[in-house]
């Protein structure tokens, strides 16, 4: 109910209502962006890109209860645009936040994973990120990426296969 009211307000141009809507699920939005971009600054920038687009386009939204799916689709697109623009360079900014040595192994794995993920085709990358990093089910992925359910499944299996090939050996 509250969401519906906020969406209506946002449709009339209420900026605070729009911010509140995003903050309702801030964890979800931020994690989605982070899953794609792997660093805090870019993730925040992408969420910012998204809200500006939402503000300009919200009057086109027809189904009020689809707000969060709709905006996550836009966020995913913003992230993909940023990914393309930064030419697969992976920025690393949160090293000082944690004791370095204890996380060394984990970071090394992460870096390796990001590198091989980054080499996959965009359409395979995105389904893997959404399925494994965000634990979304096939249907949610299909709604956010606007692709049929069957395509989600086939891209996921192809993506994993390619990931295995790039990691080499028995995987």
């Amino acid at each position: 109910m509250e969401t519906e009211l906020l969406v209506k307000k946002a449709k009339q141009g209420d900026k605070d209502a729009l911010v509140e809507l995003i903050m309702q699920q801030n964890q979800g939005y931020y994690k989605l962006a982070y899953a794609f971009l792997s660093n805090k600054e870019d993730a925040l920038d992408a969420v910012e890109d998204m809200i500006v687009i939402l503000y300009e386009k919200i009057h086109q939204l027809k189904k009020v209860d689809a707000f969060h799916f709709w905006s996550k689709t836009i966020l995913a697109n913003c992230c993909k645009r940023r990914l393309r623009n930064r030419n697969k360079i992976i920025l690393y900014d949160s090293l000082e936040e944690e004791p370095y040595e204890s996380n060394y192994k984990q970071r090394e794995d992460h870096l390796l994973l990001e590198t091989v993920l980054g080499q996959l085709h965009e359409k395979h990358q995105e389904v893997i990120r959404l399925r494994y990093f965000l634990d979304l089910d096939y249907e949610a992925i299909s709604r956010i990426l606007k692709i049929p359910l069957g395509t989600v499944k086939s891209r996921l299996s192809t993506g994993l296969k390619k990931l295995k090939e790039s990691l080499g050996g028995e995987g």
Binding site: N26, V47, I51, E56
Partner: protein
């Protein structure tokens, strides 16, 4: 396959544990702040047709006027602040569009100026067909000359294009005296050993100048524990808002100079807040020491047009002071306070003919000039060898490092001549706006 899945799961665990940054909400609000409401298109064809007729009529009739006011400075988007971009969108300012070409082919074009009571902004383009615009030395001694005096450059920024043939500069100058009519924009090109001067002259159009929106004396002194900061006045114009203040007047400065207890301000952190919660974006600041004492200026974006209230929030100040403190290192593991700043000597040891002293202070405290007296002779600090930061459970960060002095001896005295530290405050000054 299992390894990949376990790596993916591992990565998910990291993501799950990640907290959403606190600044998210503020950044979202900020991103929307400058957005204008979207106008929905009306589908009424009659209204559309009428509008087209009206535009055709107006454009035809007033072509010259529209051509003038419609002009904007193009290509300066990256160097303009939010306020300036808006003014430029509105077509404010005076277009000049005159250039000067030097013998070697380099040209300078003064595209336009914006003038208000606090500054003269010059928008100019330097063009070098050879593509060496970045290594060229052209903006020494850029100034405006007029009948009543010269107006020197205060600062600004520029952006070059990818093939280095062009830089667009936005520079701020002192505002010209109010009777000035013709101004000469002067610049020097240093090319190898030769120097060539270029001049672009133009008539100042005062009608396009913008006045002041707020001019007020503040005259309030804020006393922090070790420092007094005086806020003198505020001048708000359509291009920016400047707060003027001082740390010491000339008498205090002279007194400290004589007693050898000089202080130097490194950084003053203040926020300007309009209408209770709108934080005005900071543009820059400067500090100077001259015959008026130690003064500072902090500039911000322009104030909102519906100004109800205005306040300055003083957050912190970092000052460098003379202390001349002597610490005898025969007694190790000592804890002491210098001007209220906690200093701990953790360890003193000799290694390969050098003396190493490990100390811990607050994160913001730096011994800006420190020496070691070894049996009466002074040894300069060679370098700082380790750095460790510890977060305290009660807040604050402690910085532990080891100072390396090349030399050893019997009697060791650490001589701290100058020290920098930050005092944090949360003091608010209200500025009456009516």
């Amino acid at each position: 396959m299992e390894k990949i899945e376990s790596m993916l799961r591992e990565r998910k665990k990291v993501l799950d544990e990640m907290a959403v940054p606190e600044e998210l909400e503020a950044r979202l609000s900020r991103a929307l702040k400058e957005r204008k409401p979207v106008r929905r298109r009306s589908h009424n064809w009659m209204a559309k047709a009428a509008a087209v007729c009206l535009v055709v009529f107006l454009v035809g009739y007033n072509f010259n006027t529209l051509a003038f006011y419609g002009k904007k400075l193009i290509g300066y988007d990256q160097v303009m602040t939010g306020t300036l971009r808006e003014l430029n969108e509105l077509g404010k300012g005076q277009l000049i569009e005159k250039s000067h070409t030097f013998d070697n082919g380099v040209s300078v074009t003064l595209d336009g100026i914006m003038l208000d009571e606090s500054q003269l902004l010059a928008f100019y383009t330097v063009h070098d067909p050879k593509g060496e615009v970045n290594s060229m030395n052209i903006h020494h001694h850029i100034q405006f000359n007029g009948f009543f005096g010269r107006y020197i450059m205060r600062g600004g920024q520029g952006e070059s294009n990818e093939d280095n043939t062009r830089i667009k500069w936005l520079m701020s100058f002192e505002p010209p005296f109010f009777l000035e009519r013709t101004l000469h924009f002067r610049f020097l090109l240093l090319d190898g050993g030769t120097m060539e001067e270029g001049v672009i002259s133009f008539k100042l159009d005062r009608e396009k100048a913008m006045g002041t929106t707020l001019k007020k004396k503040i005259n309030q002194t804020v006393e922090l524990e070790h420092t007094k900061v005086k806020f003198d006045s505020i001048l708000a114009s359509p291009t920016r808002t400047v707060i003027y203040g001082s740390i010491q007047n000339i008498l205090e400065l002279a007194k400290d100079q004589l007693s050898g207890e000089r202080l130097m301000m490194n950084n003053l952190n203040i926020k300007l807040i309009a209408n209770d919660h709108e934080v005005i974006k900071q543009q820059g600041g400067r500090m100077s020491t001259d015959t008026r004492g130690k003064t500072f200026e902090q500039s911000f974006d322009a104030l909102p047009s519906d100004l109800q209230s205005l306040r300055i929030q003083i957050e912190s100040i970092s000052v460098d002071r003379d202390v001349n403190e002597e610490v005898n290192l025969l007694h190790q593991n000592r804890v002491m306070e210098i001007l209220g700043q906690h200093l701990e000597i953790n360890d003193v040891y000799e290694l390969n003919g050098s003396t190493f002293v490990t100390i811990t202070t607050d994160e913001s405290t730096v011994l800006t000039r420190v020496l070691l007296m070894v049996d009466g002779s002074r040894i300069e600090l060679e370098k700082t060898v380790t750095d460790d930061y510890d977060k305290l459970p009660e807040g604050g960060i402690r910085h532990t490092r080891t100072l390396h002095f090349p030399g050893t001896g019997e009697e060791l005295v650490l001589l701290i001549e100058r020290i920098t530290f930050t005092e944090s405050y949360n003091t608010i000054l209200e500025i009456p706006v009516n």
